[in-house]
Subunit: 514 residues, 2 copies
């Protein structure tokens, strides 16, 4: 057994059994070890942004980490943006980053770089294997770090000679640390405030947006009239028929401030007090209304679902039936026009039971939450870190985690082009992902933001937001990577194409010209 074998065995013995990878020479012993280890599924990505984004989608849906296998510092660097998103989603991920042999590093060969430096901004834990014998113990430390509640990114740097040298030491069982207790005093204070008739808003993320957390939030809402909101971007939320309808805090600061206007207390569960996504001249960055008292029931490291259960109990509604959405999907849209609202209606109309919606639709996705709230029950995954290029990879990873569920990826064009390569992995693995590609041929969000930041764009500036010169043919692009698809320019065409995509096992892309 060499170090690479020890690493793979320790991972699979601890339930880490999916590896997303784009390997290189320094990782060849790990790749060879795959054939010695039946329990590890290895999935190739054409680019590391596809690899790490897939690990994010996988981790959110599987509730446990995948590992990535990345080629030295540049391979890790290519995956950093989606690791940033995963960090913001508290997704557990274990990066295995190959490194030059220990004696080779000091020679400063062309691919030498500061891997630790690249890893630091996204990793909660970084370890470097010094000798083959340390591999198992280091792997256990990485698993424990990544799985400690609520989940984070652990990066294990593995020099090539530690992989090819012999060892007898496997790692043992990882201890997985659960959430810290919620703040019981804060729950008491919240219960008092609500009983006193204070106008309250609950802001949710993390475990608070699972089925149990949402049910308790809905009980509290019914009992007290409190406003219940999710964060603007949720790592994972239970949605649709049979679940409480919980809207999200609006993206734009002015609308978020309006949504929270007039509250006396802001109750926070599984997140933190809200802040504006960007700063704008003359607009506050902190969104808690002045005069409102923030009460943190549970921060992201604490038991947010438990805090909501305790609060519902304290209010005497712990056992009550929560108000949930009826199954009442939007009507099938018809006609010769096509716009994001019509597309959202089709999605809500056709959404299969237990689908997974990955939403990176940007401005084109504003109507999605409303028009899927009474659709079939599903899970929703959002772009948590703002680094575009998450959608196609995360949909890929979610489909690996949940092979019996349809994944619907709502995808903006500009963002799609960041990590379009992940479509190939969907084709290769036969993953059941239907991509709705909103092709508005521009970075539409930036056209909005231009006005909001008070800048005055001229033609050269506007040209930097334009994707129409030349137009991109997403059906041909998907086809070139092995994913079939079709183009829709009317509501009728779109509905038919989406229906076909959803009925097609494996990947499919619908390009919606809007």
């Amino acid at each position: 057994m060499n170090g690479a074998d020890a690493l793979l065995h320790t991972l699979t013995n601890n339930g880490v059994d999916v590896c997303f990878t784009n390997p290189g020479t320094s990782e060849m012993h790990f790749v060879a070890a795959l054939d010695q280890q039946d329990n590890m599924r290895s999935i190739l990505g054409l680019f590391e942004g596809a690899v790490t984004g897939a690990a994010d989608g996988y981790g959110r849906m599987a509730g446990k980490p995948a590992c990535t296998l990345l080629h030295l510092g540049p391979g890790l660097a290519n995956g950093l943006a989606n690791l940033h998103n995963a960090r913001r989603a508290y997704t557990p991920i274990i990066n295995i980053v190959g490194e030059h042999a220990t004696y080779h590093r000091e020679l400063d060969a062309p691919l030498t770089s500061d891997i630790h430096g690249f890893a630091s901004p996204v990793s909660s834990w970084i370890g470097t294997i010094a000798r083959a014998e340390d591999t198992g113990a280091q792997a256990v430390a990485a698993i424990e770090a990544s799985r400690a509640f609520p989940g984070s990114i652990a990066t294990l740097i593995a020099p090539a000679d530690t992989a090819w040298s012999e060892t007898t030491a496997l790692g043992g069982s990882a201890d997985v640390r659960g959430p810290a207790p919620f703040d019981a005093a804060a729950v008491d204070a919240a219960a008092r405030a609500l009983r006193d008739g204070k106008r309250a808003a609950l802001l949710l993320n993390g475990t608070a947006t699972g089925e149990a957390g949402l049910a308790d939030a809905a009980r509290i809402r019914s009992a007290t009239g409190a406003l219940v909101l999710g964060d603007t971007f949720l790592a994972r939320a239970a949605r649709g028929a049979g679940r409480p309808d919980v809207p999200k805090l609006p993206y734009f600061a002015e609308q978020a401030l309006e949504a929270l206007d007039g509250i006396d207390v802001l109750l926070v569960a599984g997140t933190k007090a809200p802040v504006s996504f960007f700063a704008y001249p003359g607009v506050p960055s902190e969104l808690t209304p002045s005069g409102a008292e923030p009460i943190v029931l549970a921060d992201p490291t604490q038991d947010a679902a438990g805090a909501l259960a305790a609060l519902a109990e304290a209010l005497g509604v712990g056992g009550s039936a929560p108000e949930v959405s009826a199954f009442d999907p939007p009507a099938r849209p018809r006609g010769q026009h096509l716009d994001p609202d019509l597309i959202a209606a089709s999605v809500g109309n056709l959404l299969p039971e237990q689908a997974i919606i990955v939403n990176e639709a940007a401005t084109s996705g504003f109507a999605i939450p409303d028009l899927t709230a009474r659709a079939a029950p599903h899970d929703g995954l959002d772009l948590t870190g703002g680094a575009i290029g998450m959608g196609i990879p995360a949909a890929t990873g979610a489909a690996v985690a949940c092979p019996d569920r349809k994944v619907v990826n709502l995808q903006a064009d500009g963002s799609a082009l960041y990590t379009i390569q992940a479509l190939w992995t969907q084709a290769r693995e036969g993953l059941d992902v239907t991509t709705v590609l909103f092709n508005n041929r521009k970075y539409a969000i930036l056209q909005v933001e231009f006005m909001r930041v008070g800048a005055n764009p001229g033609p050269k500036a506007m040209d930097m937001l334009d994707l129409s010169r030349p137009d991109i043919d997403f059906v041909a692009l998907a086809g070139s990577l092995g994913v079939p698809g079709s183009r829709a320019t009317t509501a009728d065409e779109f509905h038919r194409a989406l229906g076909e995509g959803l009925a097609t096992p494996g990947p499919y892309l619908v390009e919606a010209i809007i």
Copy 2:
């Protein structure tokens, strides 16, 4: 004038007049400032790896920096791999990285990250603008850092409020520091060794592979019989008819050791003593033969061309005519077969005068140096840092720098898929780039490396090196991004297609199925 205006004016006043960008909300004031500043050409990339790779190709050919404009930490992160390559090429680049407003950073909004941390592994200089008034001075410092010989990457972090706030302070003129003097004592020692009949090899990179440096190296070779070699990967080299034919040190360690076998002294100009690209079990990592004395005439910060001139002078051949290649391109290949050697012959046969060859062909490019050595005079740019995905972007940037020269990008399939988005920028800007896409449907280099590292790949392992399931259609892929192309499966087809590509103004892609 706001900070963004001050930044752009200071850059253009110092000759930095091309900006490769993919901007976001925090950069909107810089984008707006483009319309106030006629002298700055702004070029959109669909992904930051395309942006930074273009800046690398531009900087190598223009001999001065472009700036990049990147969106916060994740935007920079997406560009890091090609910045790693640029760092290894000593390419001057100025990154302008947008950041949240100074007062917004501490709120840890979703896109907040450790930008300084991301930048550190690739940057020789990092500055953060604290107030709008500091912008001009910081921009000058960034220019001076990036242009100090031999060139490096300077990263300027620009918080949004420093861009939108008013200022009256423009930056002045940047002082550009030239090379440090070469080591005169080393030149004397080298001259003595050569006169004493020692068997010598010269190893060249940097300014030593420009026309003057190569001419002096050829004079020394003719006078002494010394072996002259370039580094395996050269930032930029003058090649073809009328230039000395200088082979490169082979990639594989065993072959490199064989090439240098029997030398008494290794003379180094513009680089450092050679090391193996990767470590392999039982193979030395340092390639200078034991017993050979290394003499560093000029390290990368010193005047390597000057050192070679002085050495030629010391040997009494300073004024002599260097031995250069005749114009004797390979014959046009014919027939029903197609392989990398036939392709290299077509390239050599058809190469236009003063073309720029960007070589990221990996295993498919082994025959290129030989079969272009007597082709029309041209420049060659190699993958200096080993981070794949450099070719299409660097070709893009080289074409921006040299609009009157044809760029020929020799491109491996696996590497192409890292930054394929750059084809769209070639279409958008009408850049004169012909891409030869070597489609062997695998990571061929890794099949070779697998054997060399002593690993024993089984079917799961081999599957991680395979790009044939599904096959990728590069003609359709290029077409979807606005670049026309054709597919060749025989030498006849390839020659005709390459001829058509070279005759077509603007971008064109020839997919060679090999």
